[in-house]
């Protein structure tokens, strides 16, 4: 325990409290512009999605592009819980997350035998199938959408759940189980000869990733009043994939930074609609050509990096442990 309570931990906790408090206070005092508030909430939801997708794509090395599908399952399940079954919000979030995790498990079991592009395409297919099934599911409004979802998600909810997600995945990664996942990314055959049941850990990472995508879906559903299957298409999955790749595969802080940056970029470009997607796509191409490993590579962002850069050192192994 004493290992955890070092100076950095204490500073982190203080900063977190300050951050949460200052935003919460300004919400209560109505000094924060609701549009910024909305984007802060969106940032937190996107962080959950990006970090959880990074567990699958970045850390375990399994190429998935169906994350929006799991998000949809979480969103719809939680909305059914609150709207149709009259359950409480926490229970609804949990139900959404668990439902997404179960589907993730069921999908992961057969498909994770596939590799690389093939897996990517299979997950893309699953994402689309989930979407089509919701279109044909009249109980939740079918294609026209699920209306009348209460507006319950608040800054407090998203902040703490995002924090929980980041801490959960960071702690998972920094344990023997997490290292087992990473070893699969590095070399699946070598991982097996180290005695690691690769199927188990691939499915585990996939299930955990789906769990948090479902959580994010539940938060999303209860913020935007309405759900529509077309919200959870291929392009939305690509949005999160881009966050993960842009931030760096295997970098939690990278995903967080990319989620923040892309959410802000999206908000900023709203008024130049016609150009927005063109700028976005060009940005993607240029970044991939000049920095295919993403902004952070598989490194974690830390203040030490600045210090080292200041001293003109190379940051060979910063934070990578």
């Amino acid at each position: 325990m004493k290992k955890m309570m070092n100076k950095h931990t204490i500073i982190t906790i203080i900063v977190l409290i300050l951050l949460y408090g200052s935003v919460q206070a300004s919400i209560l005092l109505e000094t924060i512009n609701p549009f910024y508030q909305l984007n802060l909430i969106l940032i937190c939801i996107n962080i959950i999605l990006a970090v959880s997708l990074n567990l699958i794509n970045g850390f375990t090395g399994q190429f998935s592009i169906g994350h929006a599908g799991f998000m949809a399952i979480g969103a719809y399940t939680s909305a059914i819980m609150t709207v149709k079954l009259g359950q409480s919000f926490p229970l609804a979030i949990l139900a959404g997350a668990v439902a997404a995790a179960i589907v993730g498990f069921l999908i992961g079991l057969p498909t994770l035998r596939l590799k690389g592009d093939y897996l990517a395409i299979a997950t893309l297919g699953f994402g689309e199938i989930i979407k089509v099934l919701f279109v044909n599911f009249e109980y939740v409004g079918g294609a026209s959408g699920f209306h009348g979802i209460p507006h319950i998600t608040t800054w407090t909810w998203v902040f703490f759940i995002a924090l929980f997600t980041v801490v959960f995945i960071r702690n998972f990664i920094d344990s023997s189980h997490g290292r087992a996942c990473i070893s699969i990314r590095e070399d699946e055959i070598a991982a097996e000869t180290m005695g690691i049941n690769t199927t188990k850990y691939k499915v585990m990472a996939f299930t955990i990733g789906a769990f948090f995508a479902g959580t994010a879906g539940a938060l999303f559903a209860h913020y935007f009043y309405i759900l529509q299957p077309s919200n959870f298409g291929f392009l939305r999955s690509v949005d999160y994939l881009v966050m993960v790749v842009l931030g760096g595969l295997g970098s939690i802080t990278g995903s967080i930074l990319a989620a923040i940056a892309l959410t802000i970029l999206n908000a900023a470009l709203q008024s130049v609609a016609e150009l927005r997607m063109v700028i976005y796509s060009l940005l993607l191409i240029v970044i991939m050509i000049f920095r295919p490993q993403g902004l952070m590579g598989n490194k974690e962002f830390s203040l030490k990096m600045f210090k080292r850069l200041g001293r003109g050192e190379k940051h060979g192994s910063v934070g990578n442990r």
Binding site: M1, K3, M4, V167, F168, N171, F172, S175, S176, H177, G178, R179, A180, I182, S183, E186, D187, I189, A190, A191, E192, T193, M194, G195, I196, N197, T198, M204, G250, N298, G316, S317, N320, R321
Partner: protein, 260 residues
């Protein structure tokens, strides 16, 4: 009693017979070489032994248990470890993590403990890390602990791969061309290291190697494989004098060679 007994192993890829009636026995504590020209089927033996391929026919008895066709991770947990011809390290991870991953099957804490960071997690994780560090000391890699594996010099990468394999606590270690790409000095050091780990860890070792000085100098016995068939086995002196071996390696004697 033999630690490992391979009986009448056959392996066919498509129509090609990579191994034909391959038999091999290893006694506890032996250091045995498996040699032969390129494409003779040596690595195939390793791949079948570690479960990467399932054999077409034949049985593998290890430690009185039939392990034929088991999954690789289970075979590792039964006590067979290996290294690879073309080093397969977890190249973006630190040296320490490479070894810590090898300890994974022995880890007792679950995902929940890992995520919640309860005290027992820290206790076990610290113990595990300490064990890994101690291990690295044996291989004089402790000062490179936080180095990323792919940044190590080649010789050290080889050593790390062996260290990592040993960390799975095997009874039998399979080394696939450990000296490939090494200079004579490194090869010499490696030879000593192999001999030393055998006694230190009470190991049985099966070695594939092209560097004959290493094989001849280290192994008590050796099997020579050519076209998937064992053409000879015996001690180094016998092997060196065996005409079939010389032919397999140097080709048929051409009597009129000097007439050129």
């Amino acid at each position: 009693m033999a630690l490992l007994a391979i009986g009448n192993l056959n392996m066919a890829f498509g129509g090609l017979n990579a191994l034909t009636n391959f038999n091999l026995e290893l006694n506890s504590g032996e250091l045995v070489g498996l040699i032969g020209p390129n494409g003779a089927g040596k690595t195939t033996v390793f791949n079948i032994l570690t479960g990467v391929y399932a054999p077409t026919a034949g049985t593998i008895i290890f430690n009185d248990e039939n392990i034929t066709g088991l999954k690789p991770y289970i075979i590792t947990q039964r006590g067979i470890a290996r290294t690879f011809q073309n080093i397969r390290l977890f190249s973006n991870l630190s040296v320490l993590d490479n070894v810590r991953i090898a300890y994974h099957p022995n880890v007792k804490y679950g995902v929940a403990s890992a995520v919640t960071r309860i005290p027992s997690f820290h206790i076990e994780e610290d113990a595990l890390t300490q064990k890994a560090i101690d291990f690295l000391k044996i291989f004089s890699l402790e000062d490179k602990m936080y180095e990323i594996a792919k940044n190590l010099p080649y010789g050290q990468q080889r050593r790390l791969e062996i260290a990592r394999a040993l960390a799975t606590q095997p009874k039998l270690l399979l080394l696939d061309e450990p000296a490939a790409g090494m200079n004579p000095q490194e090869t010499h050091d490696l030879m000593n290291l192999i001999k030393w780990i055998r006694s230190q860890f009470n190991l049985t070792i099966l070695l594939i190697e092209h560097d004959m000085s290493l094989v001849m100098g280290a192994c008590e016995r050796m099997y020579v494989l050519d076209y998937g068939i064992v053409i000879a086995h015996g001690n180094p002196t016998e092997i060196k004098a065996n005409p079939r071996v010389i032919e397999a390696y140097l080709g048929e004697e051409v009597p009129n060679a000097k007439n050129q």
